[in-house]
C-alpha cells in the first residue's frame, strides 16, 4: 500500500475520531441533563404524591402494627424468622395468634432440599402416624430426607454435613466442634499447650455457632465471656467446667447444617433423587389425572432411590451397629452418649410399639429398662 493510501486511511480514521469526540462533547452534557431531569421529575412526583395522599387517602395502620402473624401456615414454614415474625421492631416479637408459647425463631429453612423445594413435600413432611410424626419432623431440622428414605447397603451410611446457606459439603457444625474442644479427654493438656490459640479458636467456633443457629444470643455471650478471660485464670477454668453443660442446651438440631447421604462419586451431598427433573415435571403435569398403576409408576420414576421402608429410630439411636458413624461426623463423645442413651431409645421402642410411654419424673421416675433385644443393623 502506498504512503498516500496510508495517509488517506489515517485521515479518515482521524476524522471519525474527531467526529466521535465532538459527538461525545455534545452528547455527554445532554445525557447528564436528561438523567438529572428524570431524577427531579421522579422526586417531585413522589413529593406531590405524598402531599396529596396525606390528605386525600385514608389508610390503615402500617405493617409494623398489623403484620402480626395470625397463623403458622405453609408460607411461614418456608420462610426465615424475620419474614415470619415481621416484628423486628418489637422488644419481644409476639408469637402468632392462637399460639401461646414463644417461638422466638423458626426452623431454619432448607432451600437446597430438593424434596421440599420441588413443591412435592412440605418442610414438615411427616403427618401420618400420630405416634411419631412430630418426632420425625424434629429430625428434619438436622437430617436430610434421604438419610432415612434413600436406599443404600453400607453400614454405617456414607454421610456428609451440608450448609443450609449454600447447600455445599462442609465441616461439622461449629457447635459440635466447640463442644468437642470442651469435652475432649485431653482438653486440659490442650489448654496448657495451645492456650491463646485454642481460646481464639473456641471463641471463633462459638460465634460461628451463634450465627449458624440463627443468631442465638446466649451462644454469642458465651463467646464474649470466653474471650474476656485470660487462659489459665480461675475464671477461665470455671468457664471450662461449666461450658459443656451450657453448650449442651443448644443441641436442638439448629446447626445451620444438615446431614445428607454422600454421593460416593462426587463427594457431594445427595439433596434429592438424582436426574429426576423430567420425571418430576411429568408428575406435576399428570398428577391430577393419573390414578392407580400409572400414578405408582410416575412416583417410582420420581423416587428411584427410595427405600421400601424408611429407617427407624433405633437404626441409628443404638449403642452398637448404628447406621450413623457419629464420631466420624464430628459428634463429640459426650453428645454421642446422649444420642444413644438407653432411656432415649427405650422410649422410642415403647412408642413405636404403640405402647403408652409415661414421662419420667425428676424425683420419682426410675429409668426405663433397656429394650429386650439389641436390634441388628439392617
Amino acid at each position: 500500500m502506498s504512503s498516500e493510501a496510508q495517509r488517506k486511511i489515517f485521515r479518515r480514521i482521524w476524522a471519525v475520531v474527531r467526529l466521535a469526540g465532538r459527538f461525545l462533547r455534545n452528547a455527554v452534557p445532554r445525557i447528564y441533563a436528561t438523567a438529572i431531569m428524570f431524577v427531579i421529575v421522579w422526586l417531585t412526583f413522589l413529593a406531590v404524591r405524598y402531599l396529596v395522599t396525606s390528605l386525600a387517602i385514608a389508610s390503615g395502620p402500617p405493617p409494623q402494627i398489623v403484620a402480626l402473624p395470625t397463623r403458622l401456615d405453609r408460607a411461614a414454614l418456608r420462610e426465615g424468622r424475620s419474614a415470619f415474625a415481621a416484628l423486628d421492631a418489637a422488644e419481644h416479637p409476639r408469637s402468632p395468634l392462637a399460639h401461646y408459647h414463644r417461638l422466638g425463631g423458626w426452623v431454619q429453612p432448607d432451600t437446597f432440599n430438593d424434596c421440599t423445594r420441588s413443591g412435592c413435600h412440605n418442610p414438615l413432611p411427616h403427618a401420618k402416624r400420630k405416634e411419631v410424626r412430630a418426632f420425625l419432623n424434629m429430625h428434619a431440622t438436622s437430617i436430610h430426607c434421604g438419610v432415612c428414605h434413600m436406599e443404600g447397603d453400607r453400614v454405617p451410611r456414607p454421610l456428609v454435613w451440608y450448609g443450609l446457606d449454600a447447600g455445599k459439603p462442609g465441616d461439622p457444625p461449629s457447635l459440635l466442634q466447640a463442644y468437642a474442644m470442651l469435652t475432649a479427654p485431653d482438653a486440659a493438656s490442650m489448654w496448657k499447650r495451645d492456650g491463646d490459640a485454642a481460646q481464639k479458636k473456641l471463641v471463633h467456633l462459638l460465634n460461628s455457632a451463634a450465627r449458624e443457629s440463627g443468631d442465638v444470643p446466649a451462644l454469642a455471650r458465651l463467646a464474649e465471656h470466653f474471650e474476656a478471660y485470660r487462659v489459665g485464670s480461675k475464671a477461665f477454668d470455671q468457664m471450662l467446667t461449666d461450658g459443656p453443660a451450657a453448650l449442651a442446651r443448644h443441641f436442638r438440631g439448629e446447626y445451620g447444617a444438615k446431614l445428607a447421604l454422600r454421593d460416593e462419586r462426587t463427594g457431594r451431598p445427595l439433596l434429592g433423587h438424582p436426574n429426576t427433573g423430567p420425571a418430576v415435571a411429568e408428575w406435576f403435569a399428570r398428577k391430577d389425572t393419573a390414578v392407580g398403576e400409572e400414578a405408582t409408576k410416575l412416583l417410582e420414576a420420581v423416587h428411584p432411590m427410595r427405600r421400601a421402608s424408611a429407617l427407624t429410630c433405633t437404626d441409628c439411636h443404638r449403642t452398637q451397629g448404628s447406621l450413623i458413624d457419629f464420631p466420624k461426623l464430628g459428634y463429640p463423645e459426650a453428645r454421642i452418649r446422649s444420642l444413644i442413651d438407653p432411656v432415649v431409645f427405650s422410649m422410642i421402642e415403647h412408642i413405636n410399639a404403640g405402647r403408652p410411654f409415661n414421662l419420667p419424673a425428676v424425683l420419682g421416675g426410675a429409668p426405663l429398662p433397656p429394650p429386650d433385644v439389641e436390634k441388628k443393623a439392617p
Binding site: 413529593a47 418489637a90 419424673a361
Partner: protein
C-alpha cells in the same frame, strides 16, 4: 470472681448464684426429702425447672407437624430458656399447671384440651407451701369492662377465625408473658449487676431458700408496662384494625390514627416511654382489664375525665386542662370539615404553588442544555470577567458571598441537616428507614434533644441574621440620607440586597419566556437573581414558622395555658408541612442549583470562597459583571450587552 457459664444464657440472669445452681438445687431436693416433710415436697417440685421432663422433647423447635387439611402447622416447641432461666411469671409453673395431666403424661399425648386460663393452678411460695392461684378474677374484671368475654367470644374477623375452637379468648391479647429487662425500670441494675443479689444471698441462698432473683425480676418488671407501646398497639390492632370487627361494632380506626399521632410515631420508632393505648384508656390505678368505653362516665377518656388523664403525673402534669382539646386520634383524611383539614389543604396548595414554579424553572433550564441552546452575549461577558480578574481590585469585587454570609450559610446547612435527620423520622415513622435512623442518634430521646437544640440554635442564628441585616439597613439608610444627616429608610429598604423589586418580577417573567423559547435573549441579573431572592424569602418565612410552632409544641405544658389544645394540632400540621416544603425545596432544587447543575458540578465554589463559577456567573449575573467593570473603569470592548 468466677463467672459460671449457664448464667450467661440470659442477660438478666446473674452469675454467681447460678454457678452453684445445680448444686443448690440438688441440696434443696435432698433437704426436702430428708427433713422437709410431705408438705414441702410439692413446692420443691414446682421450683424445679422442668419437673415433668417435658422439655426432653419439647425443647426441639422441629417438634411439630403440618396439617394439610387446615393448612396450619402445629408447633409443640417450648423455649427451654423460658423455664430454665425463669424468663417470665409462668417460668416456674409445671406444664401440668395449665395442661391436663392425664392428657399429656402419656406419649403420644391424648387429644389436648385447650388451656383454660381461669383454671386453678398451684404456685410455690416463700413459705414452701403451695398457694392456689387462678386468673378467674380477670374474667370478672373483663365482664365489667368494655371488653366483655361474651363479646370477645363472638368476634368474627375479616381474616377468618384467629383462634382455634375453644381456645381461650385471652390469646387475643396475650402470649407467653416475658419479664422485661429490670434495668429498663431500674437503671441501677446494670451498674450493680451481681451485687443486687449478693446481699440477699447472705440469708436467702441457704437459710431461707427463696428464689430471690425470680422475685426481684418479677417485681422489677412490674415497674414498667408489660409490653412496649409498639407491642401494645399491635395487640390492640388485632381487633381495632380489622375491617370486619370495626364495621360490625362501628368502631373508628383508632390504631391507625394513634400511629399517626406524636405518641404513636414515637412508639413506632421504638420509644418505650411514650404514651400507649393503656396510658390514656385505663384509669390511673385501675387494671387494664377494666378498660371502659369512652362514653362511660367512669372512663378515663370520657369527656369529663380526659383532661385529668392527660395531666397525670407521668404525662403532662403542668398542662392546662385545655390540653385535652387536642385531637390525639386526628387522622387528616377522615377529618374533612375541620380547621385542621383546611390548614393542611392550604399548606399543600401553597407548597405546590411555591415549589411548582421553581421546579419548572429548573426543568426548563435543563431543557436548554438538552437542546444545546447557547446564551447570547456569553463571549463578551467572559472577556469582561477576564479583564476584571486581571485587575488587582477586580477579583474581590466578584465575590458574591462575604465570609460572614458563608459562615451563616454553613451553620444553617449543618443545623438544617440535623433538624431533617432528627425530625423526618417522626414524620415518616412507619417507613423502613425511620427507626434505624433514630437509633443512629441513640434513640428517640436523643434524637428529640438534638432536634430541639438544633432548632434553638437555628432560631438564635436567625435572630443574629436579623441583627446583621438591621445594622446593615440602618447604615445604608444613613448613607442614602445625604449630607443633612437624615436617614432615608424607604430607599434603604428597597435597596436591601434581597428586596424583591418590580424589576425582579419583570425579569422573572422574561426568564420564563426565554426558557420557554418565547424570547431570544436571556435576562441578566445583578448580584442576586430573583430565584435566589425568593429562596431567601422562603428560608426567612420558614424559619420563623418552624421556630414558633416548634417552641409551642416543645413547651406544650406552658403553651397549653394560653392556647387551646387544637392549637397543637394546627402547630403540628404547620410544622410538618412547612418542614416538608423546606426539604423538597432544598433537597431537590437547591441541591441541583449548587451541586448538580451542569455549570457548577460538582460543587458551586460560591459556598466555599464566595466566587460563583464563571460559567454560572456569566450566564446569570451579567448585570453584576457590567456593574463591577464600570466601578473599576474597565472598558467593555465587545458589543453592548442586550437586556
Amino acid at each position: 470472681m468466677t463467672v459460671p457459664v449457664d448464667a450467661m444464657m440470659d442477660p438478666a440472669k446473674r452469675t454467681r448464684r447460678d454457678g452453684r445452681g445445680e448444686t443448690a438445687r440438688r441440696n434443696r431436693a435432698w433437704m426436702v426429702l430428708l427433713f422437709g416433710g410431705a408438705f414441702l415436697l410439692p413446692a420443691a417440685a414446682a421450683r424445679a425447672d422442668d419437673p415433668e421432663n417435658c422439655l426432653i422433647c419439647h425443647q426441639y423447635r422441629g417438634l411439630s407437624r403440618f396439617d394439610e387439611a387446615s393448612g396450619r402447622a402445629h408447633v409443640f416447641f417450648v423455649d427451654p430458656q423460658y423455664a430454665l432461666a425463669h424468663r417470665g411469671p409462668h417460668g416456674r409453673l409445671a406444664c401440668t399447671a395449665c395442661h391436663i395431666r392425664e392428657e399429656v403424661e402419656v406419649v403420644p399425648h391424648h387429644a389436648v384440651t385447650p388451656v383454660d386460663c381461669t383454671r386453678q393452678c398451684h404456685l410455690p411460695s416463700t413459705t414452701g407451701i403451695e398457694r392456689r392461684f387462678s386468673h378467674d378474677n380477670v374474667m370478672e374484671m373483663l365482664a365489667r369492662s368494655a371488653h366483655k368475654p361474651e363479646e370477645l367470644s363472638k368476634l368474627t374477623f375479616s381474616r377468618g377465625p384467629l383462634l382455634a375452637d375453644n381456645q381461650s379468648i385471652c390469646l387475643y391479647c396475650h402470649d407467653e408473658p416475658l419479664f422485661r429487662d429490670p434495668a429498663l425500670a431500674i437503671p441501677k441494675f446494670t451498674e450493680l449487676a451481681d451485687r443486687v443479689y449478693d446481699r440477699c444471698d447472705v440469708c436467702h441462698a441457704e437459710k431461707v431458700a427463696t428464689d430471690i432473683e425470680y422475685y426481684v425480676r418479677h417485681i422489677a418488671s412490674r415497674f414498667q408496662p408489660a409490653r412496649t407501646p409498639l407491642e401494645l398497639a399491635q395487640v390492640c390492632a388485632v381487633c381495632h384494625s380489622d375491617p370486619k370487627v370495626m364495621a360490625e361494632r362501628e368502631l373508628p380506626n383508632s390504631v391507625a390514627s394513634f400511629v399517626r399521632s406524636f405518641h404513636g410515631k414515637a412508639a413506632l420508632l421504638g420509644d418505650f416511654s411514650t404514651a400507649d393505648c393503656l396510658n390514656c384508656h385505663v384509669t390511673a390505678g385501675e387494671n387494664a382489664h377494666l378498660m371502659l368505653a369512652p362514653d362511660d362516665p367512669k372512663s378515663s377518656v370520657h369527656v369529663a375525665n380526659v383532661a385529668e388523664s392527660c395531666r397525670s403525673l407521668v404525662c403532662h402534669p403542668g398542662a392546662d386542662p385545655k390540653i385535652a382539646e387536642t385531637a390525639v386520634h386526628l387522622d387528616l383524611p377522615t377529618a374533612q370539615g375541620t380547621i385542621e383539614y383546611a390548614l393542611a389543604a392550604i399548606f399543600i396548595v401553597l407548597t405546590i404553588l411555591t415549589f411548582g414554579p421553581s421546579c419548572m424553572l429548573v426543568l426548563l433550564d435543563l431543557l436548554q442544555v438538552i437542546v444545546g441552546r447557547e446564551v447570547h452575549g456569553e463571549e463578551r461577558l467572559h472577556a469582561l470577567v477576564k479583564r476584571i480578574m486581571e485587575d488587582p481590585r477586580g477579583k474581590h469585587q466578584l465575590v458574591r458571598f462575604s465570609v460572614n454570609h458563608r459562615v451563616q450559610h454553613w451553620v444553617l446547612s449543618a443545623l438544617f441537616i440535623l433538624l431533617v435527620l432528627t425530625g423526618f423520622p417522626m414524620k415518616f415513622a412507619d417507613d423502613w428507614w425511620a427507626a434505624p435512623l433514630v437509633r443512629m442518634f441513640g434513640g428517640l430521646g436523643w434524637a428529640r434533644v438534638i432536634h430541639h437544640w438544633s432548632g434553638i440554635l437555628l432560631v438564635l442564628g436567625f435572630f443574629g441574621h436579623l441583627v446583621d441585616v438591621f445594622f446593615g439597613f440602618v447604615s445604608r439608610a444613613r448613607e442614602l440620607g445625604g449630607p443633612h444627616g437624615r436617614a432615608d429608610y424607604v430607599k434603604a429598604w428597597v435597596s436591601l440586597p434581597m428586596w424583591i423589586s418590580p424589576t425582579d418580577i419583570k425579569k422573572s417573567i422574561q426568564l420564563i419566556l426565554y426558557l420557554m423559547f418565547l424570547r431570544k435573549e436571556k435576562p441578566a441579573f445583578g448580584r442576586f437573581s430573583p430565584a435566589e431572592k425568593f429562596e431567601y424569602l422562603g428560608v426567612f418565612w420558614g424559619t420563623m414558622l418552624l421556630g414558633i410552632t416548634g417552641l409551642l409544641l416543645w413547651g406544650e405544658q406552658i403553651s397549653s395555658h394560653f392556647l387551646s389544645g387544637r392549637a397543637f394540632n394546627l402547630a403540628t400540621i404547620a410544622h410538618t408541612y412547612e418542614a416538608f416544603l423546606a426539604v423538597i425545596h432544598v433537597g431537590i432544587l437547591h441541591i441541583y442549583n449548587v451541586i448538580f447543575a451542569p455549570k457548577v458540578f460538582p460543587l458551586s465554589t460560591a459556598t466555599m470562597n464566595g466566587y460563583t463559577p464563571i460559567a454560572k456567573l456569566v450566564e446569570e449575573h451579567g448585570e453584576m459583571i457590567d456593574e463591577v467593570a464600570r466601578d473599576l473603569g474597565i472598558r467593555d470592548e465587545g458589543e453592548p450587552y442586550h437586556e
